[in-house]
Amino acid sequence: MSGAVVLPRRAFLASLGLAAGSLALGVVPSVAVAAPAAAPAKVAALVPAAKGPGLVPNVFVHVAPDGVVSIVCARSEMGQGVRSSLPVLIADEMGADMAHVKVVQADGDAMYGDQNTDGSTSVRKFYDDLRRTGATARAMLVTAAAKKWGVSASACTARDHAVFHDASKRSIGFGDLALLAAKLPIPKPADVTLRPKSELRRVGGELPLLDGPDLVTGRGVFGADVRLPGMLVAVVARPPVVGGRVTKVDSSKALQVRGVKRVVELPVPKGPPAFQPLGGVAVIADTTWAAMKGRAALELSWDHGPNATYDSDAYRETLLKSVRAPGRVVRKVGDVDAALAKSAKRLEADYHVPHLAHAPMEPPAALANVTDAGCEIWTSTQNPQASRSEVAKALGLDASKVTVHVTLLGGGFGRKSKPDYVVEAALLSKVMKAPVRVQWTREDDIQHDYFHTTSAQHLEAGLDESGKVTAWLHRTAFPSISSTFAPGVKEASDGELGQGVLDFPLAIPNVRAENGEAVAHVRIGWLRSVNNIHHAFAMGSFIDEIAHARGADPKAVWLEIIGAPRNASLAELGVDKLPNYGATLEDHPIDVARLRTVISRVTELSGWEAGRKGGRALGLAAHRSFLSAVAVVASVVRDGRGKVHVDEAWVVADAGTVINMERVRSQLEGAVVFGMSLALHGAITMKGGAVVQTNYRDYPLARMPEAPRAIHVEVIPSDAKPGGVGEPGLPPVAPAIANAVFALTGTRVRELPLARHGLV
């Protein structure tokens, strides 16, 4: 069998609307016999940005004459609640009533600004700009009403979806003003006046979950849920080792599987992995099951390429060796060597964190439909613009011919910023001349991830007679994310080192940080909070080690080491410049007071002073990342089998200005469980260049019985510029747990996960 046999289907292309987040599904035909060839195809597109007459002050807002205000969410929804948050900011600035607001998910398009939903940027980078989009709309509506009434615009206000002239007790609804306002010149965003914060009615509060009703009824549409008539499904056998290629394909048995249409070899990637598909062999069939069976029936031989000898256990020794020798100096204050030599007491410790996989509940999936007109994509992506440009490049099309619709994401955590799977779908649709959905299995996801890097760190401290730390040496070595995009990279980037190594405030007179070389043998990617994971683990554990070596309260030592309230300068940190997550130090200083506050508050809430009692022990850690400060206290007990169990956790965060307090809290709760997964269980290993783990059986995540009985979250009220939220909750979790484990058991965990030590 060869070639695509696209059978006619009794299919309906449903019209659909994203009315307040509810995606209307198509009509499912009543069929006497349902077979793959007669599958009721439902759903086609997510709604494009609203069109038709009305006010369009910018690409984010549309006011229709019937009063419906469409607000675009240009960021991907993956659980962090952007769809429930960003549109409310715009609506509040406009004075729009959310009951008459339709949230429209943006396609990938540069006109929306950066859409890569990554780096905890959705609020912190767009807060002011989004307010201006709403304020522009409001200014035009107010001007239109003022003109109509012949009054001064300054005498008019916009609220409750209408413009009011209070002096004459007149009002006109937004819908009735839409066409009038549309005739006005559009003011420059910089020229519009923002409301005082006190007038933002909902922002900062507990906002309803826009997609909640859809998510509990199965109506939410994820990447693998979109159906097109004549759609085929592809499952791909990828080279087990990065840099490998298939050398022999026997597809005869695969082609005998009922429903399999064709077997297609994907191109071998050229140069660094970047966002390219890994290559391999695709089996395309009329159902997912047929494609999976077809793939299992393939007989393949591989050339595993230059990474075939990569062994992550052996590599651990390589990294440890790297950090036991001097490296490239990246941060320097005073003279660490002299201070160490003079110190009354010296402490040193080596830490290791293995590779980690993202393992979002929804494995990668993308549907592509390549036609003469171009390529249309539906996918769960954090990065619709890169999906668009990578597909355009792979197909030799102009990007304008590629449309990327963004579905809900069943988790992202950084994995879905990389559109390799989207390109696979596009290439296969082109070959098949039919819509093709690429479905990754869990095994594909675990084995072919862009892995969190693996790292070793060496920390050394010198203490004077009183126990005060006079010298701090921190060496870190890990394969860089840059290695995924450029050949021969051995050094960490400033951005990576800026996640804890360069920017953590240390009130210590002699500080030196160094970076050791490390070569990558797998695709390295960013995972929720990225290099902060291992840096916060090592630094947060080491501060605890110093405290115990002194016989001091870890909380007091934390506060002593970060020092007095101040904004830490570049000179104090001992660096020439600081990436600071893309923000200036003026907007987002290294504000030690905020870090002190979260530490003080989390210890108050958790009853830290009462200390260990009743078989429980507490551990503390704090970290600043993505411009927010977070402190965590974990409580650890022994369960009936003598294993450790995190039974309660406290999180206090200062994330600056908050749009949606409810989702901020849910993100911080989730960060604790995500952190537990990596601290307790997380380890991806490679043998012969290939990933050993296959599924949740051997890459376990925290489950319900392991979940703490309570996770207490407090968010510090703040008018400071917004910081990140999705990621900063994670870094302090693992060291807080490890510190609690030490307090409970006396076992110091310097290598994650805890499972490695038989503790869980």
């Binding site: 349902a34 009824t217 199965g218 069943g410 989730g670 995500f674 489950r703």
Partner: protein, 173 residues
């Protein structure tokens, strides 16, 4: 056919079952997992694919009222039986669990939540007022990568109590 048919090339026979109250006759391979019959053949995409190995529970449905993982349940095992998916749990999303889930803001990404709710629904039918330990035991097969477990526990208690939804929120300072 006198020999086994490992490649599944033999003509299939119709498999009949009831899905969410509606009779269906499926012309599919008898080894096709119920999950793919629901998703690819019947277009019921509320039931999710997470692992394919009964390790994560994203595909949880009820088969004659019992919890099964649809990803490892061959369609032939569902022949003549009644399947309930998340789409059929309630006509309008008004099952007490669905209401509690929304009231407490349980979902983050939401991908696992259909499976969570289907497992919890079966638990409540047998154990109307479960303890934390009973919840932990029943829900242990359902993974949530976003980490919504504490809210899931609270929502199950709330649905069990049939009380007016209240928030898990703590008083803000």
């Amino acid at each position: 056919m006198t020999s086994p048919d490992p490649m599944g090339t033999a003509p299939a026979t119709l498999i009949t079952l009831r899905v969410n109250g509606k009779e269906q006759a499926l012309d599919v391979e008898p080894d096709m997992p119920l999950l793919w019959a629901l998703r690819d053949v019947l277009g019921l995409t509320g039931t999710k694919f997470g692992c394919g190995q009964a390790l994560c529970g994203a595909c949880t449905v009820h088969l004659d009222g019992e919890v099964v993982r649809a990803c490892v349940t061959p369609i032939r095992r569902a022949a003549g039986k009644a399947v309930t998916t998340i789409e059929g749990l309630s006509p309008d999303g008004s099952h007490p669990l669905q209401r509690a889930w929304v009231a407490l803001g349980v979902p983050q990404c939401g991908y696992c939540q259909a499976g969570q709710i289907m497992t919890a629904a079966a638990l409540l039918r047998k154990t109307p007022k479960p303890t934390d330990a009973e919840i932990d035991q029943s829900m242990a097969g359902n993974l949530c990568r976003c980490g919504t477990y504490t809210r899931i526990r609270a929502a199950i208690h709330q649905a069990a109590e049939g009380s007016t939804p209240t928030s898990t929120r703590e008083p803000s300072k």
